[in-house]
């Protein structure tokens, strides 16, 4: 029995290894295709060239500063978006008619490319950080609103009855029972909202050529620094993926400890 388990374990590597192997295989095929001349190295440079230009990005192009700026803007957006989103979500939960009227629209807006609203914000705020943060706020709000409403709607009635039987005021009922009970779901919404904010912030930076990583990628493209541009894109993807996993871990940790 133990032998079977043992060989089984050998045959099936952990998922993380599989994921990296798939990625490595993809890069190998890409590299080979590029070197053999099937793909124009100008349009799609080989991975080796892209990896090499990372050094250039770090040393000469201020990648770290651009990264910090983008993430500061994304976090600011998610922070503001959380405050507004939780308040709106609470209203949609509390005022039933508003919930019925607007929830569908909020859900629909989550799947719409809100980043295209940037000209409007450009007119309101000008070509500066405010526009970028505002776009991030708009992008992150739908999941936060929806998850807040969902979390509050799904608090188990027995917990609310406990509060009522102890004679809690509506305010205490909210702060001591409803809100903590809904918090895991709300956190989930904030986490998705943060990812949406990153997407929107980088997108708007790219479109208005201002600020952090988005501007950097746009600049490199304009200068035909193609391997550098791809390195920049790859960096954004890598950071987003890491971010996704880290926040997922935090969420599981928070849920398991409470």
């Amino acid at each position: 029995m133990s032998t079977i388990t043992h060989t089984g374990a050998l045959r099936r590597p952990p998922p993380i290894v599989t994921r990296f192997l798939v990625l490595a295989a993809l890069f190998a095929v890409w590299e080979a295709a590029s070197r053999a001349g099937y793909v124009s190295a100008f349009i799609l440079p080989p991975p080796s060239a892209i990896f090499q230009s990372f050094e250039m990005l770090f040393v000469h192009e201020g990648l770290v500063a651009a990264f910090l700026r983008t993430f500061a803007e994304a976090f600011a957006a998610a922070g503001i978006g959380s405050l507004i989103g939780v308040a709106v979500g609470y209203t949609l939960h509390r005022v039933k008619i508003a919930g019925r009227a607007f929830t569908g629209w909020v859900a629909a807006s989550a799947s719409a490319p809100l980043v295209l609203l940037y000209p409007l914000f450009l007119v309101i705020f000008g070509r500066n950080s405010a526009t970028i943060v505002a776009m991030g706020v708009v992008g992150c709000m739908p999941p936060i609103i929806l998850k807040t409403k969902e979390g509050l709607d799904n608090v188990r009635p027995v917990l609310l009855n406990i509060g009522r039987s102890f004679g809690l005021t509506p305010w205490k009922q909210f702060w001591m029972i409803q809100f903590p009970a809904a918090l895991p779901t709300i956190f989930n919404g904030v986490r998705i909202g943060l990812l949406f904010a990153i997407i929107n912030v980088v997108g708007v930076e790219y479109l208005i050529v201002f600020g952090g990583l988005g501007q950097l990628i746009s600049d490199l493209g304009d200068r035909f620094e193609i391997p550098g541009m791809y390195a920049g894109i790859l960096f954004v993807i890598l950071v987003s993926v890491c971010f996704f996993f880290i926040t997922e871990k935090i969420e599981t940790w928070l849920l398991s400890s409470k």
Partner: protein, 266 residues
């Protein structure tokens, strides 16, 4: 002597678009200080409705509920409730769960933790103060819920099938715990149950209810010596009480069953 709890002609009709459903016919009942009353009946006899009326969760009903002679409507600090479903707060540790009603009432931290610690000890959970409910068994969580309600120091403790979700052995041991608490605190208790043995084991009086619309079919005085424990269940007299109650309950239970099956096939 005025009874602690007086239920006076309490009746309830639920209104639906298809008309009214009479859940409770007028029920009257007096409960003395320190008395343990069980209400037993088939599913759908309105026993949980009665409990929710007395506990104040249902505010629209006919009749009156009086505590110490004064009419009450809505939730009342003299009446504490324990529910059938899992009701501990998963984000609070055992001790913070028990201290919850004291915290809501603004009792200083030191004092409420002291009180919560005593109550955890009373329900046999000392040493588990800092555990979260997810780390504890169903029986332990239900004991936390009972301790939490006791922390509120209610004159009357209402329990709606608090052991229904537990396995038989845990249920018996928890029954012993409830008996011990009731004896130590002289706690007036009203228990809703559909378990006949549990009702006989714990109660001074067992009220048998009819199928919908619920009314009191019979009141059985349980003349068994106290202090009691689950050891009682082997006795001859115990068996007689259980048999007698089942005799009354049988017809009502089968009416309930027929109606449910009728609803399913029809």
């Amino acid at each position: 002597m005025t009874p602690v709890l007086r239920i006076k002609d309490v009746a309830k009709t639920f209104w639906t678009p298809n008309g009214g459903v009479r859940a409770l016919e007028p029920i009257s009942l007096d409960i003395r200080q320190g008395e343990f009353i069980s209400i037993i009946g088939p599913s759908g006899c309105g026993k949980s409705t009665l409990m929710n009326i007395v506990g104040g969760l249902i505010e629209e009903y006919e009749g009156e509920v009086l505590v110490d002679g004064a009419a009450v409507r809505g939730c009342h600090k003299e009446i504490g409730m324990v529910f059938q479903e899992e009701s501990t707060f998963p984000w609070r540790t055992a001790i913070d769960n028990v201290a919850f009603p004291l915290e809501a009432a603004g009792v200083p931290r030191h004092e409420r933790l002291k009180r919560a610690r005593e109550l955890l000890k009373l329900v046999g959970l000392d040493g588990f103060e800092q555990r979260f409910p997810s780390e504890l068994s169903g029986g332990m969580r239900q004991r936390i819920a009972i301790a939490r309600t006791l922390a509120f120091q209610p004159r009357i403790l209402l329990m709606d099938e608090p052991f229904a979700a537990l396995d038989e052995q845990t249920r018996l041991l928890l029954g012993d715990k409830v008996l011990q608490i009731q004896q130590e605190l002289n706690q007036t208790t009203m228990l809703i149950t559909h378990n006949i043995a549990e009702a006989v084991q714990l109660s001074d009086r067992v009220l048998i209810m009819t199928f919908r619309p619920g009314r009191i079919l019979r009141v059985v005085e349980i003349d068994l010596p106290r202090p009691r424990s689950s050891k009682l269940m082997g006795g001859e007299k115990f068996g007689q009480y259980v048999a007698a109650i089942w005799e009354d309950l049988r017809d009502e239970a089968s009416k309930g069953l027929q109606e449910m099956e009728g609803a399913r096939t029809g």
